[in-house]
């Protein structure tokens, strides 16, 4: 499983580096979202500062939908899926590999957007002890859920419109928990920030395990 995971992660990242869809489409979309939020709320610094963690995660959440769609499009046409099935790859490994690649992409996106809110919304990281897990744990949860639900949503033709409605309600708790934890990392006095980190941990673990168990049966059609 791990061997296949590594192989798939490497392939996905190679393809991503070469096609630069993430760099030219997903990353700018995330940044654009930050600007749009600021336009919607008005240029009041105190308002933007208070809303920064939530807006940050909204931007990541929407971008992650694009990233998940992209990740499953790499799996490609039905012909490519079939060709890969003929290779005898372990589906659990394929799932894990895709999640690993997507986590890497989301982390890059988060770092860029974090710089974005630091510059645009005048926040600063007060506690890396909270900020770091608040960035990594949601990336794992969003990637696992994104790949799993993306596979549920069927072929590329239906996925683009179906995936958001399937996955966003499920990811709502991640949005809440990640915003709360990040606001603690940015220096706000959020009560029970530790509890939110636990919730993020549970979400990431549950979806990783379920994905490993269910990705195979779902792709087998």
């Amino acid at each position: 499983m791990w061997r296949d995971a590594l192989l798939i992660a490497r392939r996905d990242l190679t393809i991503e580096l070469r096609s630069k869809v993430g760099l030219w489409q997903i990353l700018p979309f995330g940044l654009l979202a930050l600007f749009l939020f600021a336009f919607a709320l008005g240029p009041r610094t105190d308002l933007l500062e208070a809303a920064a963690p939530g807006l940050f995660w909204l931007a990541v959440l929407f971008s992650s939908i694009l990233a998940a769609q992209r990740s499953l499009n790499i799996e490609g046409s039905p012909a490519t899926r079939e060709a890969n099935r003929l290779l005898g790859l372990d589906p659990a490994g394929v799932f894990l590999g895709k999640v690993v690649a997507m986590v890497v992409e989301l982390l890059v996106l988060e770092v860029v957007l974090l710089v974005g809110i630091v510059l645009l919304f005048h926040v600063s990281v007060a506690s890396w002890a909270f900020a770091a897990p608040a960035l990594v744990l949601p990336a794992i949860g969003l990637s696992a859920a994104g790949v799993l639900y993306g596979s549920l949503a069927g072929g590329a033709s239906t996925r683009s419109t179906l995936l958001p409605i399937l996955v966003l309600p499920v990811e709502a708790p991640v949005l809440i928990a990640a915003s709360k934890s990040l606001s603690r990392g940015l220096g706000a006095t959020t009560p029970d920030a530790g509890r939110w980190l636990v919730l993020l941990c549970v979400f990431a673990a549950v979806y990783t395990v379920l994905g490993i168990a269910l990705y195979g049966p779902l792709e087998e059609s």
Binding site: L7, T14, I15, A79, T80, E82, A83, L86, L87
Partner: protein, 225 residues
Amino acid sequence: MAPAIRLRSAVALQGRFPVLSGVDLDLAAGQVLVVLGANGAGKTSLLRLLAGLVPLTSGEAEILGADLRSSSADVRRRVGLLGHDAGLHDELTPVENLRFALRASRLDHGRAEPALDRVGLSGRPSTTPLGRLSAGQRRRVGLALLVARRPQLWLLDEPHASLDEVTRSLVAEVVEEAAAGGAAVVASSHEPELAVPMADLVVTMAGGAVISSAPGGRGGGGDVA
């Protein structure tokens, strides 16, 4: 020795439509079978069934000594299918595509370059992303993948379609080599004049079933089981 293919009244559905309506077929290892028939006769579906990609709804199917119903995953690993779309990644180069596929099927990835050499794709084209190659070159990469993987059963879906003279004879050579090496080959075709000479056995399909069979023109062969 177990036959490479043994089908009895094989039925396969696509949705609710019976793409295969009861196929009987036998093929020994080392033999080449050509499947003729009009569009929609069920040729591609037959190949996909043999590859373990379409479930068998009723009837019997034994591929390479394994029951297709119970061990389709095992069958898939041992067959090679080349369709209209080779199912490769456009962003990766032919070498990367082949290495990925070889690693995924736990084979020596050093087989990639020699296989590309064999189909006449060495040098620059082999390190250009697949998306920038011509349709003919992409077909050659697909063929190279089969050469590299050395499956025991080759399934070629219209291998002659939209290829130039040189590539067509390359297909014939590679198929002959594979059969000589003990692999069974099934190729579908629209063009009997090209396909029949390379076959031991020629069958014609219509309405999702085999309606006639005849010996082909492969050198010395002709002994139909």
